[in-house]
Symmetry: C2
Subunit: 425 residues, 2 copies
C-alpha cells in the first residue's frame, strides 16, 4: 500500500467524460489498496476564458489588480475539484474536495506568482484515514491575510509536488498528454526514446530548455524535498494493470547511479523561438553587465543565455538571448537607454536563431562531450554562433534553419535512439 | 453621506459591458459622497452552466454531494466580484473583492440552502474607511468547519440584505430588471401601477405568491433586521441624477401609516402553474393531516395552500395545491401510500388551476374586502374553487383560463390603476 499524489492537467480534465475517466483511474488505485490525493488543473481553456473576461474589462493589463486576477483565475480549479469529487462519488468512491485556502496551502503574498510556504497535512490525513480520496485545487493558495493567491501558469505541477512533500507521499504521479520525458522531441526525431528515469538536475535543464512537460518550479520543489515524481500519460486506458501504470512513464530520481549506467547524455533539448542580441565593444568596467540588463529587466523582458567573453583592448562583446517576441522591444531598450550610456560601439541582433542543448548528468565525469558535439555540428555544416555551458548541459545558438538537422545528428551521435530502430538507421 | 448596499442580479452582471455599467453607477454613488458595498450575483447563465456540468457527471441529482455542488456553484459569484473590482479600478475607483468565507459570512451547514448566522463587519468597515468600494460575493458563506455553503437560488438578495443589516446600512438597493414592485404583473394588466412604498409584510405575501422580484428569505431578513430595502431598475441610465435614483423604485418599509393613506389593497398577485388535489371523505381523526402530507414532503414535493373544512358525519375533505410539475408525482404518492392507509374515499385533482390573491396591509382594518373580491369574480362568471386567507391576503383558486380576466377585474375594482390611465378606461 502506498500513499500517492495524482496530478491531472487541463486536457485530462477537459470534459465531463474525461473527468469521469480520471475518476475511474483514481478509484482503481484506491481499490488496489492505495491512498490517493488528487491535484487537478482547471478544465482546459477555462483559465484563459476567465482572464480573457478581465482583459476585456481592462485592456491595459498592467493596471489590473493582481489580487483580483487571482480571485477570478482561482475559480477554474475550484470547479474542477468539485466535479471530480462528484464523479468519484457517482462510482461509489468517497471523496472530498478542498480549495487551497481550506487545506490551507499557505503562500507568500506575491499575487499571480506566489510561492508555497507551507501545507497543513492534518485535514488531508484525517480524510485519507477515513477512506476518502482528497482532491485539492492546484495552482493556488492563501496568504497570511486570507487573500487568495495563484502560483502562475503551470502552477498545478508545483501544487502537486508540494502536497506530495507535505504528506510525505511515496510518489507524485503527474498525468499529462505525453507518456514521459523523451531524449528529444519525437516530432523532430522520429525514433526519440522515452527515458525510464531521469535525474532531477537533468529534468531541471530539460524543463528550462523548453521541454515544457513540467513547470520548472515543480522540478525544483521535487529536488528540494526529494519527492519521487513520475511523468506519465493520462491517455492510456485506465483499465491498465495498476502495476504497469506504477512503473510506466519517466521517473525523476535523485540517485545518480540509477541513470548513469548507459548514457552520458540523456537528451537533446531545444528552443525554437530565440533571438540573440550583441553589444559590440562595450568598455570592460565593473557594473557594465548590470547597466545593460537592468533596463532590459525593467522592461519586463526575460533574458535566457548571457555570454561575455574575455576582453581585448579594454572592450568586450556582450551577448544575450531573448524570446523572439521580445526581440524588437529589447533592441529598442538597448538603442535608446543603454548603448550611449555605457559607450558601446554598436548593437547588433538576429531573430532567426534557435538554441540546441545536450543535457546529461553523465557529462560531469566524461570529457569529450563538448568536442563530440561541436565536431558533429561542424560535419553537418552548422555554424555555431554562441556557446554556453553548465555542469550538465552544453547549449549552442545556431541559425534556426539548422534546428532539425542539428537535433537529429546530435541525437544519433549520442546514441539516444530507440533500440528497435537503430537497426534501420 | 449615506452607507448603502447595492445588489446586482445576474442580468445586470451578464456581460463585460454590463459589468462596466455597474461600475460606473457604483462610482457615481461614491463620487456623490456615499460609502458603497456591492453584492453581485454570478453572470447570468453561469450558475446553470456550472450545475449543468455536475448533472452531466451524475445524472441522478439526488446522489450528489451538496457540499461539492456548493464548491462548484459558489465560483460564479467569485468571478463576478473580481471582474467588478477590476472594472471599478479601471475607471479610477479603488475597490476590493471578498468571497463569503473571507468576510466571513458565517452560515449553518445546510449545503445548497444554508442560512446566514452572522457577518463580521470589521474588514468591510476598514476598507470603506480607506475609501474603497467593498464587493462581496452573493449567494454564499462558510460554515464553522470552513466548508463553502450556498444559500439557494436567489440567495444573493438575502446576502445583500444581511450585509446591509450587519453594517447597519442606511439602505439596501436591489437593482434588478424591473423598476419596482407593481400592483400586479404589467403583462397582464397594462395600466398596473408601480408602488412607491410597500410594507415588508405585503412584500412577503407578494414574493411568496410568485412576484419573483425578491427572494422571500431576503424579505424576511429585511423585516427581522428592519433593513430599508429598495427595489429599482439597473436598466435606467447610470448618469441619472443620484437624487432621483435614491428616490426611485419601490421602498420596502416598516411603518404602516406611510403606505396606509390610500389603498386597502396594494396589489394583485397570482401563480399560474398550480394544481389542486383533494382527498374526499377523509376520516376526521387526530394526525390525519400529517399522515397525508408526511409522504408528500418525503417525496420532496412542496405544498402551497392547504385547506381542510369543517367535517360532516365524521369525515372531511382535505385539499392542497402543488406546483403543476409535481402534480403527477403527488397524485401517485397519495394513491399508493396515503389513500387506503387513512381510509379516504377518493383522490381527485385538477392541474388546470391558478391562484389569484389580493394583498394589502389595509385589509386588516377594512371589512368588506373579501366580499368585494368574491362579488367581482362572481359578476365575471369566475367560479371560486378554493379560498384561503391570511391577515393581509385573500387567495382564491380558479380555473386557469380565467386568470387574466380575474386579475384585471380585481385590479380595477380595488382602484390600483395608474392615475393617468384611469381616464381612458
Amino acid at each position: 500500500m502506498a500513499l500517492v499524489v495524482h496530478k491531472y492537467g487541463g486536457t485530462s480534465m477537459g470534459s465531463v467524460e474525461r473527468i469521469q475517466n480520471v475518476a475511474k483511474r483514481v478509484a482503481k488505485w484506491v481499490k488496489a489498496g492505495h491512498q490517493v490525493v488528487v491535484v487537478p488543473s482547471a478544465m482546459s481553456g477555462e483559465t484563459n476564458r476567465l482572464l480573457g473576461l478581465a482583459k476585456e474589462i481592462n485592456a491595459d493589463a498592467q493596471d489590473m489588480s493582481p489580487r483580483e486576477l487571482d480571485m477570478i483565475a482561482s475559480t477554474g480549479e475550484q470547479v474542477s475539484v468539485g466535479l471530480l469529487a462528484i464523479a468519484l462519488q457517482a462510482i461509489g468512491q468517497d471523496a472530498v474536495s478542498y480549495a487551497g485556502w481550506q487545506v490551507p496551502v499557505r503562500t507568500n503574498n506575491a499575487y499571480t506568482k506566489a510561492r508555497i510556504e507551507s501545507i497543513d497535512d492534518k485535514r488531508i490525513r484525517q480524510d485519507l484515514d477515513a477512506g476518502r480520496v482528497v482532491i485539492i485545487t492546484g495552482f493556488q493558495g492563501v496568504d497570511a491575510q486570507g487573500n487568495i493567491t495563484t502560483l502562475g501558469r503551470g502552477g498545478s505541477d508545483t501544487s502537486a509536488v508540494a502536497v506530495a512533500a507535505a504528506i510525505k507521499a511515496d510518489e507524485c504521479l503527474i498525468y499529462t498528454d505525453v507518456d514521459g520525458v523523451y531524449t528529444t522531441d519525437p516530432r523532430v526525431v522520429e525514433n526519440a526514446r522515452r527515458l525510464d528515469k531521469v535525474t532531477f538536475e537533468e529534468m531541471l535543464e530539460m524543463a528550462s530548455l523548453g521541454s515544457k512537460i513540467l513547470q520548472i518550479r515543480s522540478v525544483e520543489f521535487a529536488g528540494k524535498y526529494r519527492v519521487k515524481t513520475r511523468v506519465l500519460s493520462s491517455l492510456t486506458p485506465h483499465d491498465l494493470d495498476i502495476n504497469i501504470e506504477a512503473h510506466s512513464g519517466t521517473l525523476i530520481t535523485f540517485e545518480e547511479d540509477e541513470t548513469m549506467e548507459q548514457a552520458v547524455i540523456s537528451g537533446i533539448a531545444f528552443n525554437r523561438d530565440e533571438a540573440k542580441i550583441t553589444l559590440m565593444q562595450v568598455p570592460d568596467t565593473p557594473g557594465v553587465a548590470f547597466k545593460i540588463l537592468g533596463p532590459v529587466a525593467k522592461a519586463n523582458i526575460d533574458v535566457d543565455m548571457i555570454i561575455q567573453n574575455q576582453s581585448t583592448n579594454g572592450t568586450t562583446d556582450f551577448s544575450f538571448t531573448v524570446h523572439r517576441n521580445e526581440y524588437k522591444k529589447a533592441m529598442e531598450v538597448l538603442e535608446t537607454e543603454v548603448k550611449d550610456a555605457i559607450g558601446a560601439k554598436e548593437v547588433i541582433g538576429d531573430d532567426k536563431v534557435c538554441k540546441v542543448s545536450a543535457v546529461g548528468i553523465g557529462m560531469r565525469s566524461h570529457v569529450g562531450v563538448a568536442s563530440l558535439m561541436f565536431e558533429t555540428l561542424a560535419q553537418s555544416g552548422v555554424n555555431i554562433q554562441m556557446i554556453s555551458t553548465s555542469e550538465i548541459k552544453i547549449s549552442v545558438v545556431i541559425a534556426d534553419k539548422y534546428l532539425e538537422l542539428a537535433v537529429r545528428e546530435l541525437h544519433k551521435v549520442f546514441d539516444l535512439e530507440q533500440d528497435a530502430q537503430i537497426e534501420s538507421v
